[in-house]
């Protein structure tokens, strides 16, 4: 259908080198589009029409649809005349006759397609010619694919077998029909039936075919591959595994955080294949003798001699087998204490859902672990079950402990906050024990401290805090000991922060934070608690200012885990003696509390009644953008929601210090103020989807209330507490919101689960490369430097920055004492110089970015300024600048000791007491900072994509139903929560609340803001017209419009009648310019053309109805706009609706500072970079408003992935299909068979590089530890083959070479291959190399990719074993 020139140009484009899938597809598309336009074929002059479906399995070629083919059509019809003669009943239908494309016809057509045209259609002329797409024979899979199940006497056949028999049966029918000469109709019917049967054989969901009514639909090939249980997702991407177990979990604070108790029953089934060596042979012999039924035993023995034949130890003489055990045998021994197991709880939403623990075999039937580890698994003990897996090789174990070990995963990669920390009772204990008035005698304190340890640690008892009148130790000292049990322990925690119970000093009083009356300011120096009580913010998870986090970063994971273990043990034992329980007396409010609560509720009710009254009288001023009802509602819900907060605060004031709910709420172990309030004082307003309980009956919520009642009680305010009990209406309202909550969570889990899956599929193959770039599996660059700074979110000490200078400096101050003989105190000016001196050495220059070094200088500058100021305050020369008598480069630069020799000793002492910078401290400080900075750099191979997907998906599951939020002003709601996240990552073009935020040129003037608002907001003719009247005159008929000029003025619209007139003529009403006439000052006439006398009246009416809706001013896509007061007297314009471009170009708006929250619109108006930034900002904003912090690097990566192709691609099946080329990956995602059919048609190849593909193929993926490869230089005499004598030499060279520059040479014996190898470096996988039978011919190696690639771990071993096949130099 194409001209030759077209053909050549398309061909050229298709053959461009390095073209990607997306572009090929678009070229092919344009080929098809071009062909569609052609009416007559260039070769045969036949007509080209539309090919379309006509009923099930029928395809029709409508050749003569176009008018100019009428001649041909006539010819075609004439041919059919003969048929009409034969059977006259056809006469009526013959006109509709079309050419049917039967399979046979299509096959013939396809065969005639020339090879070069195949290429233009994207087909492979060698292996994928179009006729190959049609079945000429039915493939029959072997019996194992379609097993028959034998049941008593009769056998049950597989669906496929059933279908096959059906096909054979019909075939035989047709055959006999042809032989016997059955009627054409009969044969045609059977023919159709046959094609139907074949179609069902492939897929039972053929469109147009009626679904089988009886029983289940049959499973065709398509159904086998499709869906969650299908081949791809059910058997290839995820497989059932051996050496795993599952049972109920239960808590055990005596377990270490990295341990898990495995029931003996499980331990006897899970085995580890341990190779017998000289070191373990005795132990293994004992295990073999014990056999499968005694716990530390073994189930199987594999003898080296018998080619790995397994011997089951249940039968036979185990003693003999044990004695025959020799080195090299493999014993499948039972799981034992210390073995590494993987522990997992579904849903595995982030990498912390699978971690490796050390096993401890224990009696009974549950898996038990420390409660601290509940958070990452999101586990509780109400019947949850968890899985374990036992890694089967030493390498797997090593990798599991290092990468997945609990200790190495104390922080979440989402934002670097600790995720494993004390929970519930542990926090309560820590809180109670550190109360200011907890004192213990020596006997008690020694007892308590011994709880923390297993009697294996030396403990230095510190001095009692009170010596006289009696010796007493405080609880804080015990916690101090827990962190640092003796003086040999290196752990010296330094921490200073506010706790949850910190009360702000009254303004004016300069009370230092330490003296908080609630003991709410925590200072820990050298692992001693100076003041403050521990609570959730200090020992819990999710805070960077926690003890565990500080220890983790200063002293490593082992110490942090150890302290957590100690706290858990202490807590379990101490609270057993102490006791902590809750009873009815705890929730009984006292007289004062009841009275205060009554007053609050009464006043709130009164306020509500007043508001309702005001509103009904119309006195209530409307909030911007709200009508009367909305205003009232917003006021009322404000008042009512305040009731619960107020009541809660009163509860916290009035309840005693020993009240259990109070303690739990204050220390954060369980529950909040609201929970306490609901139990003790008042349950509060019940809310369903953002508003008060709606009406279930006509105009009222329940028939107990008058219609249209707006009083609190009628709309779901519960004034009772759970203690007093709810009244029947209250109970109902509470149940209503309770049910909504349940439904919501159920819906959310499904939604977020799917979102997570999509995110994961889109981002799974991104990893950091050795050149710091983030690339996908096809080596496409997504980011040049991960997160713009190449830092690992999980290693960051601060919030988004790698090193917290402040706390590190104070840690240095605490841990490095001043050398009394030679303190070398540094004066301010010297601090600056030393900073530059220290950091100019190589290891700083090479490893650090300039911006980080600058921030370090800035800190030091602050330090020296502080010191200088301090010195000035105490009357000493500040030395902030270099004094004239000294020369920086010369010899006479002195430390403070020399300079201050004459100064007032008291002042000198005081300054030193407050801040003393010594040379040693400064040097150490720089060293620590550098160390922490280098540690926080991201490691090459890190699967940043997967981490990002998890970090964004996992918090999604925790988002509660709070779906709306006010954007600065009431009524301007922004969709939040899961729906909003979904909108963003789907890159939806239709979002529920598009909002444009515009900065105004004069942003401090409400008047001018109103004017701009008027320009932006769409204004209808109906809004500004006083009247629209029909006028019928003998000469003319028109609609008279009178514009209300006063309103126009009030609205501050700058509209002239001309503008209105042109707006009318521009509208969709198709009124011509000349038919709109202006009569000043305020009248317009719209003349109605009389085409038809009858229609005139109708036209008049029609126009009259439509005219008021004509937009005369502003932008039609904008719904409304609100002027928002940003608080400090400046105003922004918040516009709801689309039309960013229009708003930007409006006078009075600063276009450069105007943005929309709509990703697609931003792309359209401002380009792809703006779209990327919008994605990042919007996700960040949404997450933040739900109180979830996510490292910006994750969002950046997501933004980059969605935009790096040059257009915004949503994380949907369409977007992902554009991002990835791999068929297997797409097939394992969604629309499995569509992608497979597509791949078959276009003859696609899959390079098996991505994560999904590698999982399906069962090979190692190229990210993480699988990323690096061994390059082998084979320039060095490849012909040299290995002999018995140089085997040792070979090994030796390996080791030697490894030291210099890994140069190991491996070649196959084949000469053909050798010839190839001599060329240069050849990249090749050792696994296939070693299996010549399975690999392709050595000669067909890809010559373009000349590097030899190995799996390093198998290298040495394989060389020895396969020496006959390999030659090694």
């Amino acid at each position: 259908m194409l001209t030759d020139t077209d053909k050549i140009s398309f061909m050229k484009r298709l053959r461009t080198k390095g073209i990607d899938n997306l572009r090929t597809q678009s070229i092919i598309k344009s080929v098809v589009a071009n062909c569609k336009k052609v009416t007559y074929c260039m070769h045969c002059k036949g007509t080209n029409g539309v090919v379309k479906k006509a009923g099930p399995l029928k395809i029709v070629h409508e050749k003569f649809r176009q008018k100019r083919t009428a001649v041909e059509h006539m010819e075609f019809l004439n041919k059919l005349d003969a048929a009409v003669v034969d059977s006259p009943e056809l006469k009526n239908v013959v006109k509709k006759a079309q050419e049917e494309l039967t399979p046979l016809r299509v096959f013939q057509l396809f065969q005639r397609i020339p090879d070069e045209d195949c290429e233009l259609m994207g087909l492979d002329k060698n292996n994928g010619r179009p006729e190959h797409l049609l079945w000429t024979a039915v493939p029959v899979p072997p019996c194992c694919i379609r097993p028959s199940v034998a049941q008593e006497e009769k056998s049950n056949e597989d669906d496929l077998t059933v279908k096959l028999t059906e096909i054979i049966f019909i075939n035989s029918l047709i055959e006999s029909g042809i032989k016997k000469g059955a009627s054409v109709g009969n044969i045609m019917e059977q023919w159709d039936f046959l094609s139907l049967a074949i179609a069902m054989y492939i897929s039972s969901e053929v469109p147009g075919v009626p679904v089988q009514i009886s029983g289940k639909p049959i499973r065709g090939f398509t159904q086998r591959l499709k869906g969650k249980q299908g081949r791809f997702r059910g058997n290839l991407s995820g497989k059932r595994v051996d050496f795993s177990g599952r049972t109920v979990i239960s808590p055990d604070p005596n377990m270490g955080i990295d341990e898990v108790a495995i029931p003996q029953l499980v331990a006897k089934v899970l085995t580890f294949p341990e190779v017998v060596t000289a070191f373990n042979i005795e132990k293994l012999r004992k295990l073999v003798v014990n056999g499968p039924s005694v716990h530390p035993g073994a189930n199987y023995v594999q003898k080296l001699m018998d080619n790995g034949l397994k011997r089951f130890l249940k039968f036979g003489n185990r003693r003999d087998i044990a004695n025959e055990l020799e080195i090299g045998d493999i014993v499948e021994r039972h799981l034992d204490d210390g073995d590494i197991v993987l522990f997992n709880r579904q849903p595995s939403l982030h990498r912390l859902s699978i971690m490796s623990h050390r096993a401890r075999v224990k009696p009974w039937r549950t898996f038990r672990f420390n409660e601290c580890v509940c958070t990452p698994y999101n586990a509780d003990f109400d019947g949850d079950e968890m899985n374990i897996h036992l890694p089967q090789t030493q390498e797997a174990r090593a990798e599991a402990t290092i990468l997945m070990g609990v200790k190495n995963n104390l922080v979440t990669p989402r934002n670097g906050e600790p995720i494993i920390g004390a929970t519930q009772d542990f926090i309560t204990t820590a809180f109670l024990i550190t109360q200011k008035d907890k004192f213990y005698t020596r006997a008690e304190v020694t007892q308590i401290i011994s709880y923390c340890f297993d009697a294996n640690v030396h403990i230095d008892l510190p001095g009692p805090c009170i010596l006289r009148p009696m010796c007493l130790w405080s609880g804080k000292q015990i916690i101090g000991l827990l962190m640092k049990p003796n003086h040999k322990s290196p752990v010296s925690v330094g921490l200073e922060t506010k706790t949850k119970s910190y009360s702000k000093p009254t303004p004016g009083s300069n009370r230092p934070p330490d003296l908080c009356p609630n003991d709410g300011y925590l200072v820990i120096i050298n692992s001693e608690i100076m003041c403050g009580a521990l609570d959730k913010s200090i020992v819990g998870d999710g805070k960077k200012k926690s003890i565990f986090f500080v220890v983790l970063h200063d002293y490593g994971t082992r110490e942090a885990a150890e302290i957590m273990n100690r706290l858990a043990k202490l807590s379990a034992r101490w609270s057993c003696n102490q006791g902590f329980s809750i009873g009815i007396s705890d929730v009984t409010p006292g007289a004062i509390l009841r009275e205060k609560k009554d007053i609050i509720i009464e006043s709130a009710y009164k306020k509500c009644n007043e508001l309702i009254l005001e509103s009904s009288q119309g006195k209530l001023e409307n909030l911007p953008g709200c009508d009367d009802d909305q205003t009232l509602e917003s006021h009322l819900s404000g008042v009512l929601s305040r009731v619960r907060d107020d009541a809660g605060n009163i509860c916290m004031q009035e309840l005693g210090r020993h009240n259990a709910p109070y303690i739990m709420a204050t220390c954060g172990s369980k529950g909040s103020t609201i929970n306490v309030c609901q139990m003790v004082a008042c349950v509060g307003q019940q809310i369903v989807s953002g508003s008060r309980i709606g009406d279930g009956f006509t105009d009222r919520s329940l028939p107990h209330f008058p219609k249209f009642s707006k009083i609190p009680a009628a709309k779901g305010f519960v004034q009772n507490s759970f203690f007093t009990g709810l009244s029947p209406p209250e109970f109902l309202f509470h149940a209503v919101s309770g049910r909504v909550g349940l439904v919501d969570t159920a819906v959310k889990t499904a939604e977020t689960g799917y979102m997570q899956r999509r995110l994961m599929k889109a981002l799974e193959d991104l990893s950091v490369n050795y050149d710091t770039s983030v690339r996908n599996s096809t080596n496409g660059v997504v980011q040049f430097v991960y997160g713009d700074d190449g830092l690992d979110p999980s290693e960051l000490e601060g919030d988004g920055y790698p090193v917290e200078f402040e706390s590190n400096w104070s840690h240095i101050e605490q841990t490095i004492p001043v050398n009394r003989q030679n303190p070398e105190s540094v004066p301010p000016f010297l601090i600056r110089k030393m900073c530059v001196d220290i950091s100019s050495i190589d290891k700083f220059k090479k490893n650090c970015t300039k911006s980080w070094l600058d921030s370090l200088y800035l800190f030091c500058d602050g330090l020296s300024n502080k010191l200088a100021k301090l010195r000035a305050a105490f009357g000493l020369p500040s030395y902030n600048e270099l004094p004239e008598i000294m020369d920086l480069d010369g010899e006479n630069v002195h430390y403070l000791e020399t300079i201050d020799a004459q100064g007032d000793p008291a002042s000198v002492k005081s300054v030193h007491n407050i801040l003393q910078v010594t040379r040693l401290r400064l040097e150490r400080f720089f060293e620590t900072c550098l160390l922490k900075y280098t540690k926080s750099k991201i490691e090459p191979g890190t699967a940043v994509g997967a981490l990002g997907a998890q970090s964004i998906g996992e918090p999604g599951t925790q988002m509660t139903l709070k779906t709306f939020h006010f954007a600065g002003v009431a009524s301007m709601n922004v969709t939040l929560g899961v729906p909003r996240i979904k909108e963003i990552i789907n890159a939806s073009s239709n979002i529920s609340t598009p909002i444009i935020t515009a900065k105004l040129v004069s942003d401090n003037n409400v008047q001018s803001a109103r004017i701009v608002k008027g320009r932006v907001e769409s204004c209808l003719l109906g809004d500004i017209a006083e009247c629209i009247e029909e006028v019928y005159r003998p000469s003319q008929c028109y609609l008279g419009i009178k514009i209300d000029l006063k309103t126009l003025e009030k609205l501050q619209l700058e509209l002239t009648l001309d503008q209105i007139a042109s707006a009318i003529s521009r509208s969709k009403l198709k009124i011509e310019d000349r038919n709109v006439r202006i009569y000043y000052p305020d009248r317009l006439r719209v003349f109605v053309v009389k085409k038809d006398q009858e229609l005139l009246h109708y036209n008049m009416q029609n126009y009259k109805r439509l005219l008021p809706k004509v937009v005369v001013n502003g932008y039609p896509q904008i719904v409304r706009s609100v002027i928002s007061d940003s608080g400090n007297g400046t105003y922004n314009l918040v516009v709801e609706g689309y039309g960013l471009k229009d708003v930007m170009n409006t006078d009075g708006v600063i276009g450069t500072k105007t943005a929309s929250n709509h990703v697609m619109e931003m792309q359209k108006v401002l380009g792809i970079e703006a779209a990327r930034q919008t994605i990042i900002n919007e996700i960040q904003y949404t997450m933040e408003s739900h109180g979830m912090s996510i490292d910006p690097r994750h969002m950046m990566l997501l933004g980059d992935v969605m935009t790096y192709k040059g257009e915004v691609l949503g994380i949907t099946r369409f977007g992902i299909a554009k991002m990835k080329d791999s068929v297997m990956m797409l097939a394992s995602f969604e629309k499995t068979t569509d992608h497979l059919f597509d791949a078959a048609i276009y003859g696609k190849r899959d390079s098996v590089e991505g994560v999904s593909e590698r999982i399906i193929m069962g090979t190692q993926m190229s990210i993480g530890t699988g990323m690096f490869k061994l390059l082998v230089d084979d320039n060095i005499n490849p012909k040299h083959s290995i002999t018995e004598s140089n085997k040792i030499k070979a090994q030796k060279t390996d080791v030697d070479d490894y030291k210099e520059n890994v140069n190991i040479l491996v070649t196959a014996e084949s000469d053909e291959f050798n010839a190839d190898m001599t060329a240069n470096l050849v990249e090749y996988d050792l696994d296939t190399l070693l299996k010549p039978s399975s690999s392709q011919k050595p000669g067909t190696f890809d010559k373009t990719n000349k590097k030899l690639r190995f799996k390093p771990r198998t290298l040495l071993f394989d060389i020895e074993e396969n020496q006959t096949q390999l030659s090694v130099k």
């Binding site: 550190t434 109360q435 200011k436 008035d437 004192f439 020596r442 230095d460 510190p462 001095g463 009692p464 805090c465 009170i466 010596l467 006289r468 009148p469 009696m470 010796c471 007493l472 130790w473 405080s474 609880g475 804080k476 000292q477 003086h487 040999k488 300069n510 230092p512 330490d514 003296l515 009356p517 609630n518 003991d519 200072v523 120096i525 050298n526 001693e528 608690i529 100076m530 003041c531 210090r657 605490q814 004492p817 301090l870 305050a873 105490f874 009357g875 007032d904 000793p905 008291a906 002042s907 002492k909 005081s910 007491n913 407050i914």
Partner: protein, 162 residues
Amino acid sequence: MDKKDNMLFSDFFSVKDVDKDGKKFDRVSRIGARSENYDMELTLDVNCELYPLDHGDRFSLVLASSLNLNSASAASGQQSNLDSGFGKADANWRTVVGGTERSLADEYDYVMYGRIYRFDDTTGSKVSVFISFGGLLMCLEGESHHLQNLTVSENVYLLLKR
């Protein structure tokens, strides 16, 4: 007997207020007091069960680096203690607790042991010293030259008597 060596600070105080922010803890009261000689402000947490102080009470307060009555033994003790890693004041308490030796503590009613953890210069030339006795805080605010014997991060004894 040379007391001067140990004594870092000593003065008479009179109680201004007790628990001015309300009584928050059962057994501990926060007293505010004013010094009689050096014009100093004192905030001190006291175990009021053991040593109740009331508004208007007058007491003498001493901060000492050790409880040794004789400085020679203190010096030798310090030497031996340095080897074992304990601070100067650190091991000192054991002898006092055991009651084997006569010590400074015997002369006082209420003795606490803790650490100077911070100096603050909130108000001009006046300095605040923060000392924590196992969580019981003491804040002493006054002219810097009265406090020049105190060094940050050192252990001290607090001795009170009426």
